[in-house]
Symmetry: C2
Subunit: 400 residues, 2 copies
């Protein structure tokens, strides 16, 4: 396999863009990525496009990528439309990487895009709810909805019930506290206040987070990622071409994708196994990471992922947030972008947006939220729920 | 890139399967493919799953592959969900091929699956109609719907108007006749009568085809592919492993994917350019082909594809059907399976089903419809419509 590098990244601000189409959002992300890379559209040889729910939101169930790319004059190239729920665009990036790494194409676009807001809110909830086995959605809701969970009756709360359940298990098992989850949310909101692409750009304290409305105990609203629209794009090429284009290519050291299987307490879940593969592929370990973007669909999710990525031992996630390790300025900052909690979570755009952030961080272009001296970064993106864990997970490792 | 081979194929009969779920259809196809290959499910290292419209038909917009594969005990592996309208599962096959060819995985499943029938017929038409730019669907319908076209007001007829328009242009330009289109439909229905997997298994004469109800002149109903449900699966591996598994591996000599671009009369369309790439990759030309499966969404489409694949010169498609070249027993049989017209067209299953047919033909396993001595085969699968031609096309070439 050839060595692959990212040479340009661009994204829209995430948020509520009722007046903008997906084409419009994608155009902004792609044009920014091309400009950053110094690459014209005619140089793009193939595209991999991640989107999760356009079929249900805009009705564009098919040829989602072609419709958007044609609008900005990109055509005549292979377009792979791919979906893996919230991990759709990291899957697209993985396929774009595969095109370059395999030797098939030299310059490939990876695009993630999503419109979640719809005039009819039910439509949005139905779309998000399609990331579980829809035939079993009722039994899933019953399984996940414990006595302590407030709110039910829509798909979004089913997911929040799921995460609330995981959080309570962690609290019971390891003595993790609500305050520790709140500290993660406060960190990410504070990071988001430094990110012009973030949906929420307001600093929040632990007290702010704890006093926000309860969604499903122990989750308050500020511990949950919001609904959003947005797009993110990166251009990738061979190491050789990258060096011709820029003095600061960001190399892809690992590109992994996995899906869940039936598992019990004794078998590792999907994130640990995909992370293991990624560390092995990259030849780096968790202690080598300088900056990390993870899938904090909720604040407790980020804490669990600390452990699943082996940034700490099982049960020690709470300490990692308490001792400042994962804040900007700490040993291993996590979600300097604000993460899903503050930057936002337009499902199919999230994976590539994480990669944009690591690209900017490793090039020293992250301005106010820059992690100083960052040379090795990781992204973790999860999608859907099946059999009690993420249905898909994709992990990438980058270096400069 | 490593050499890749298909070692097993399986599919359901295509048709109206109101009482069967997509899981159930996929299970049959996958189990048949595994049995044919002599491969257990634990040996499958990754899967690429093509499906076009489940989001709109079953509500399963996300993690479509995982939901189906988990049901049959396949999990813990990378699952790529991909969509390219009617070319969804040839795109999946292309990605599965890329996984093996690149050296990333050794045994990969490519699955195509679709449910099109729904108790609410409007839902089916809406789903099929999502394979054009939905924002422009009205202007597209106006553009395609000439005076001669009967029926309008639903998405399916928009597609048929599109094909009728292409057919009339060909008639005007080259003197191609309705009878020649009818001859193609009669050939495919007759081939379908020999195929136990075909949705329609009744021999049809040219007269039968011409006297069927008119859909949009010159298309009669028997010149149009039907709505259907079904699934198809193949297992692919390295040439080396294939030789361990079977004495008759079917090698993938070319795997190409392309998308449309803005074009005028002077630039070649998508199929010729993707075909050119495929012939080059495989090192074979159109005269080397012994058997071909093409995307005969309508009978005129097949005739046009003869020319686009360079099986004959522009304008000579009519002669190719008249002189028997493309019937079983002719020099280059096209659609011995019955094609989309008779075998059926469950959108996301079609691409892999074409590959199943070529696999069986090249191994001499096609029973009554066997093309004798077939050693080199090609599949052409197109998807969606954008800017006056297929939005996506994928062509594969195989040899034994």
């Amino acid at each position: 396999m050839r060595q692959v590098a990212v040479v340009g990244a661009g994204m829209t601000r995430f948020g509520k863009h009722m007046d903008r189409t997906m084409k419009d959002l994608a155009r902004e992300a792609i044009e920014n990525a091309m400009q950053a890379a110094g690459v014209e559209k005619d140089a793009i040889e193939a595209a991999a496009v991640g989107n999760a729910v356009a079929g249900l939101i805009t009705g564009q169930e098919c040829i989602r990528g072609q419709v958007v790319l044609r609008e900005i004059g990109i055509g005549g190239i292979p377009v792979i439309n791919t979906e893996n729920a919230c991990a759709s665009s990291s899957t697209a990036f993985h396929l774009a990487w595969l095109y370059v790494a395999s030797g098939m194409y030299d310059m490939v676009l990876a695009l993630g895009m999503e419109k979640l807001f719809h005039a009819d809110k039910k439509r949005t909830f139905q779309a998000i709810g399609s990331a579980i086995d829809v035939e079993q959605s009722e039994s899933f809701a019953r399984k996940m909805s414990g006595e302590q969970s407030a709110g039910a009756g829509n798909s979004r709360s089913v997911f929040m019930d799921f995460y609330a359940n995981l959080a309570r298990q962690h609290m019971d098992r390891y003595g993790t506290s609500r305050e520790q989850f709140a500290r993660i949310a406060a960190k990410n909101h504070t990071n988001g206040s430094l990110n012009p692409h973030a949906q929420y750009q307001t600093r929040r304290s632990v007290e702010d987070v704890l006093s926000a409305p309860l969604i499903a105990a122990p989750l308050t609203r500020m511990m949950c990622s919001p609904i959003g629209d947005g797009a993110a794009a990166v251009l990738i090429t061979t190491a050789e071409k990258a060096r011709q284009l820029t003095t600061r290519p960001v190399f892809v050291k690992a590109s992994t994708l996995g899906s869940s299987k039936e598992h019990d307490q004794d078998t590792p879940g999907i994130v640990p196994s995909v992370a293991h593969k990624a560390y092995e592929q990259a030849g780096v370990g968790p202690n080598d990471l300088h900056v990390v973007e993870v899938h904090d669909a909720t604040a407790p999710a980020e804490l669990l992922i600390y452990e699943e990525l082996n940034l700490c031992q099982p049960g020690e996630g709470g300490e990692l947030i308490d001792d400042g390790t994962t804040q900007i300025g700490g040993r291993c900052p996590v979600n300097p972008s604000g993460g899903l909690l503050a930057k936002g979570h337009p499902v199919g755009a999230t994976g590539v947006a994480q990669i944009c952030e690591i690209f900017w961080q490793l090039r020293g272009e992250a301005a106010q939220r820059q992690v100083s001296g960052a040379k090795v970064g990781l992204t973790e993106n999860g999608g859907g729920v099946l059999g009690g864990e993420n249905a898909a997970a994709s992990i990438h490792i980058f270096t400069v």
